[in-house]
């Protein structure tokens, strides 16, 4: 630990990166109880029934949890590094949304959530870090997929979509859930790391995926923001179009 960190730790004030990573650690630890619990009970039920029927669900749950942990580590490392910014490159939004959808597909099926991809229109490329953008979208999707069935909603549809806005291209995830509001996100950010359920109107869990996504996007000089797509409510991020490629 450096002299500055020691001094800050002694006064109780942690450097911003450490604070982010500790808050995330709390949220992710709380979050991880759920997949472990699901796996433990599904395994026990399989044993009681002397059946292997629960094994595919166990595998999907474990795979998704490992992916969230990986994304957390990615975000936490970025938060700890002094150079808290990622290198940007021209990235196709449509292809990132498609890949994120593919990764979330099994988890969505397990939760009975219908995943849709809506990237109608030509968006060209945006300036982003592909790994970071995809990790952020997958983390966000993890929380939303888990949250949708716990809400009193008519349908459990989650749309991965992109659209143009005044500031660039918005890539995000949308549903008919009205709880995906700016107020909910603002309150969640304030409470994150302090209480078990910072997004209490949206999810019964710690909603760690939302905060992991937020942290990763910040390293890309962006952030998670509440957004609308047609009549749907969602969370997404605004990406800057890659004008150079367009000019060529």
């Amino acid at each position: 630990m450096g002299q500055r960190s020691r001094k800050l730790a002694a006064t109780g004030a942690l450097p911003a990166g450490r604070q982010v990573s500790e808050q995330l650690l709390l949220a992710v630890s709380e979050q991880m109880k759920l997949p472990f619990l699901q796996i433990a009970r599904a395994a026990e039920y399989g044993q009681l029934q002397q059946s292997t029927e629960t094994l595919p669900d166990i595998q999907t749950t474990a795979d998704a949890a490992i992916r969230l942990l990986d994304n957390y580590l990615f975000g936490a490392r970025l938060g700890l590094e002094e150079q808290y910014a990622l290198e940007l490159e021209p990235v196709s939004v449509s292809s990132v949304l498609y890949d994120a959808g593919q990764e979330l597909d099994q988890l969505a099926k397990l939760y009975g959530v219908e995943l849709e991809l809506n990237v109608a229109g030509k968006f060209g490329t945006v300036m982003a870090n592909r790994q970071a953008l995809q990790s952020a979208l997958i983390s966000l999707g993890y929380t939303l997929i888990e949250a949708l069935p716990s809400l009193q909603t008519k349908d459990h549809k989650l749309q991965l979509a992109a659209h143009r806005c005044r500031y660039g291209i918005v890539a995000g995830m949308y549903s008919s859930v009205e709880q995906l509001t700016a107020d909910a996100l603002r309150a969640g950010r304030k409470l994150h790391g302090h209480i078990r359920q910072p997004l209490a109107t949206l999810t019964h869990s710690s909603g760690a995926g939302v905060f992991v996504a937020d942290t990763i996007l910040q390293a890309m000089d962006s952030e998670l923001t509440p957004t609308r797509h047609h009549r749907l409510f969602g969370l997404g991020t605004v990406l800057k179009p890659n004008h150079q490629i367009q000019l060529v």
Partner: protein
């Protein structure tokens, strides 16, 4: 015995419902406090299994609403939660005496076999 299972997580709800069903119980599942009140009204449960950490309204809010109806004063409620019981240590009196909670069990430490045993024991008590 008809059990009202108040469980927000779709996967856990499925596993608990299957295990309880296999144990010979009828299970009515609800994912929110509001839908649990409606389900209680429609299905007249003999026992409620309750998660405290729900979306929008907490388990405590559900309990206040549930116990406000005369018909549901004596229905046993067992808490099965991801929130460790220690966090409600200061509210034990409230949970047990005022809200009629018969037991508080921490989900990660309660196996399906233990849960079925608890429920079966409640059947005997009822």
């Amino acid at each position: 015995m008809r059990i009202l299972l108040v469980e927000p997580d779709a996967q856990l709800a499925r596993t608990y419902a299957q295990a309880l069903h296999d144990s010979g119980h009828e299970v009515v599942a609800a994912k929110t406090a509001q839908s649990a009140i409606h389900a209680a009204d429609a299905h007249k449960p003999h026992l409620v299994l309750l998660e405290m950490q729900l979306v929008s309204h907490s388990g405590i809010e559900f309990l206040y609403e549930f116990r406000s109806y005369d018909d549901w004063q004596n229905i046993p409620v067992i808490i099965l939660s991801v929130v460790p019981p220690g966090e409600f240590a200061g509210s034990r009196q409230l949970l047990e005496k005022e809200l009629g909670v018969t037991g508080y069990y921490y989900k990660p430490h309660t196996s399906l076999a233990q849960l079925c045993q608890l429920v079966n024991q409640s059947t005997v008590d009822v």
